[in-house]
């Protein structure tokens, strides 16, 4: 009896995966856009009957899975450089944008009151500025009552696109940060403690008086966090709202970004939020399964056309119309089936 069951189980296990393809589309990658992709997929399935299953396994996971061809598309918050794309035969396009917002826990300080230039923010994260009443902080915050409290730095402990944007920005604004720490999904933090996910960071900030952390925009907004303002390239202090993320994107020049490798950090414009970033989709240029490739592009084209309202409702920022048009042209020119014809042409 037992052997019979185990034989059946073994047989079933061996059969696993032989019929893995066909039917619905699956994709995996970045955690940050997962809620909006889920929203789009839900509406898309109701309208077309086609299910698109997107799972948040991390940007690194998304890149690895598309390379291993276990998914139809990958997703990453960190764009791949053009040489990496070419080496793997991939193309990437941006879907939505978001921003990173510093949050603080300072008694008596209201959301938006605290102003921080990028270089100073970097020095705080370097551990070079250790007290809230430091003259450098006081100089840009006249009229704000700064307590004599030690600064507790909180950062992400898990690798994250949010950390990538944040550390890239600090590297741009502060040479000491660039040489000592640098920019990556996870870095060797000079000071502070790490929380798991946006949740972990915001919990530690809430629990520790005198702390500073950074979270995704949606998270700061939904939790009504005490955010700080960061100085942009024009010397202004824009508010962390959707319009100011969009402003950053509208000043970016996608036509001069080979392989669509573009960081939206520190863009010009009075209203541009300085720590803004897009999240990307990765697909193969040469599609082994043209029908599946077409399904993927069809979905994202549908999202470009019909998804902006849903994205806005979830605190994401849609791509500007010009960028969308550009991406549609790139699909037609670059993503081809084994017969050399484009798998999908947007109408």
């Amino acid at each position: 009896m037992l052997t019979k069951i185990s034989a059946t189980a073994l047989g079933a296990a061996l059969l696993a995966g032989t019929a893995a393809h066909a039917g619905d589309i699956s994709g995996a990658g970045a955690t940050f856009p997962a809620p909006v992709y889920a929203k789009w997929a839900e509406t898309y399935k109701a309208q077309t009957g086609v299910g698109l299953n997107y799972q948040a396994i991390g940007s690194g996971g998304g890149i690895k899975q598309i390379k291993a061809k276990t998914v139809a598309f990958g997703a990453s918050d960190k764009p791949l450089k053009v040489e990496d794309l070419d080496a793997a035969g991939l193309m990437q396009f941006p879907m939505v944008m978001g921003g990173v917002v510093p949050v603080v826990n300072l008694p008596g300080v209201m959301p938006g009151q605290l102003h921080l230039p990028g270089a100073l923010l970097a020095d705080i994260y370097l551990g070079a500025v250790t007290k809230w009443n430091d003259p450098r902080i006081a100089a840009v915050n006249k009229g704000v009552k700064l307590p004599n409290l030690p600064i507790t730095v909180v950062h992400r402990s898990d690798g994250s696109g949010t950390s990538f944007l944040f550390t890239s920005y600090l590297s741009m604004k502060n040479p000491a940060w660039q040489s000592k720490v640098g920019a990556s999904d996870s870095v060797e933090w000079p000071v502070g403690l790490g929380g798991k996910g946006n949740d972990g960071v915001s919990a530690f900030v809430k629990q520790t008086i005198g702390s500073i952390g950074y979270v995704e925009y949606a998270y700061a907004k939904q939790n009504k966090a005490t955010y700080a303002l960061v100085q942009n390239k024009d010397g202004q202090y824009p508010a962390p709202v959707a319009a100011d993320f969009a402003a950053a994107a509208s000043h970016a020049d996608w036509t001069k970004a080979p392989g669509n490798y573009l960081l939206l950090l520190d863009q010009p414009g009075a209203k541009s939020w300085p720590i803004t970033g897009a999240t990307f989709i990765l697909v193969y240029k040469k599609q082994d399964n043209a029908a599946q490739g077409a399904d993927v592009l069809k979905f994202f084209d549908w999202a470009y056309k019909n998804g902006d309202a849903a994205a806005g409702a979830l605190d994401y920022v849609p791509m500007p119309a010009a960028v969308k048009t550009m991406m549609r042209k790139q699909w037609a020119a670059q993503v081809k089936g084994s017969d050399g014809k484009p798998v999908y042409v947007s109408k």
Partner: protein, 322 residues
């Protein structure tokens, strides 16, 4: 008494006349095959880790184990911090959980009214069924703030500066540290240890215990001199079960340990463990060397587990020979 501690297997000769005896060799082979399958699974895991982690071990050599640098930007990796964190949290968790688990099982088997014993046992086992992430979030949102307010702050304010205790209890008062991580771990391994302890105690023959009571032993003496020696070999298994769970536990620890890669400087300092570092960074790691270093951490974890278990086994052997 210690002669009772372990029944030795009787050698049984199978008589050809027995009904179904033809199946005996097949059954024995199936058992052996199952045992071998487990070995193959472990072998497969270790081999895939060794292949994946080799680039990092090859590049950094011995310094991988001694360096506390963990820098994904310059791609220099050392595992000393997570190794220390893993050993400290697991040992602390075991020290905290062992007496409690022992106490629970003795209480349930010896002192508790029969009618209450079963519900309490089930309640304790329920602790094992709470998802790891729930422990993590409970630790982060409930335990850590409480601990910071009611333990860390009073300690900070009442310890005279310059004393050794100041060093021991040094840390940012927000409850995210080595000690609270160990505390959560001890709650998580408790049900496993208590449940198996209890099953072991229940296997002690009633006559043996009754006769001990008969000669006037107090319950404490019965437990100490009869019950515990009787199940001693099984107890090591229980400790291993708990230790194994503690060494590899990921999600709950990740939420509350503070995730600093350096060597922890005090009981209330932030730290990291091998498993939490892997869980934190693996899914986002894009660089080849970063992935290799994380895989090598997995290999180190196996080596540590291997050594800890080997030491425990050696200790047991010596104890038995005494």
């Amino acid at each position: 008494m210690s002669d009772l501690s372990r029944p030795t297997a009787v050698s049984m000769t199978t008589r050809p006349a027995s009904k179904g005896a033809w199946f005996d060799p097949i059954f024995q082979f199936a058992c052996l095959a199952a045992a071998t399958l487990l070995l193959a699974a472990l072998g497969g895991i270790v081999v895939s880790l060794a292949i994946g982690g080799w680039p990092a071990l090859h590049k950094f050599g011995f310094s991988f184990f001694t360096s506390t640098t963990w820098n994904p930007v310059t791609e220099v990796y050392g595992a000393a911090g997570p190794i220390a964190g893993t050993l400290i949290t697991s040992a602390l968790a075991l020290i905290l959980a062992l007496p409690v688990a022992l106490g629970i099982s003795v209480f349930l088997v010896e002192f508790c009214p029969k009618r209450l014993a079963q519900p309490i046992a089930i309640a304790v086992e329920l602790l094992a069924g709470i998802p790891s992430i729930v422990y993590g979030m409970w630790g982060l949102f409930v335990l850590a703030p409480w601990f910071a307010l009611h333990v860390q702050l009073p300690l900070m304010m009442n310890i005279p500066s310059g004393s050794i205790w100041e060093k021991v209890f040094y840390g940012v008062p927000n409850g995210a540290n080595i000690f609270t991580a160990s505390l959560i771990l001890s709650i998580m391994i408790l049900p496993y240890m208590a449940a198996v302890f209890r099953e072991l105690f229940l296997t002690v023959p009633t006559q043996v215990r009754e006769s001990a009571y008969g000669i006037g032993c107090t319950p404490f003496e019965v437990v100490r001199s009869v019950t515990v020696p009787y199940v001693r070999s099984g107890m090591v298994g229980v400790v291993m079960l708990g230790l194994g769970r503690a060494l590899g536990e990921t999600m709950a620890v990740t939420f509350i340990i503070g995730n600093a890669h350096g060597l922890p400087q005090s009981l209330f300092d932030s730290g990291s463990t091998l498993a939490s570092t892997i869980a934190n960074e693996f899914t986002e790691a894009t660089g080849e060397m970063h992935t290799a270093a994380l895989t090598a951490l997995g290999l180190v974890l196996f080596v540590i587990t291997f050594s800890v278990l080997a030491i425990a086994r050696a200790l047991l052997l010596r104890q038995r020979n005494d």
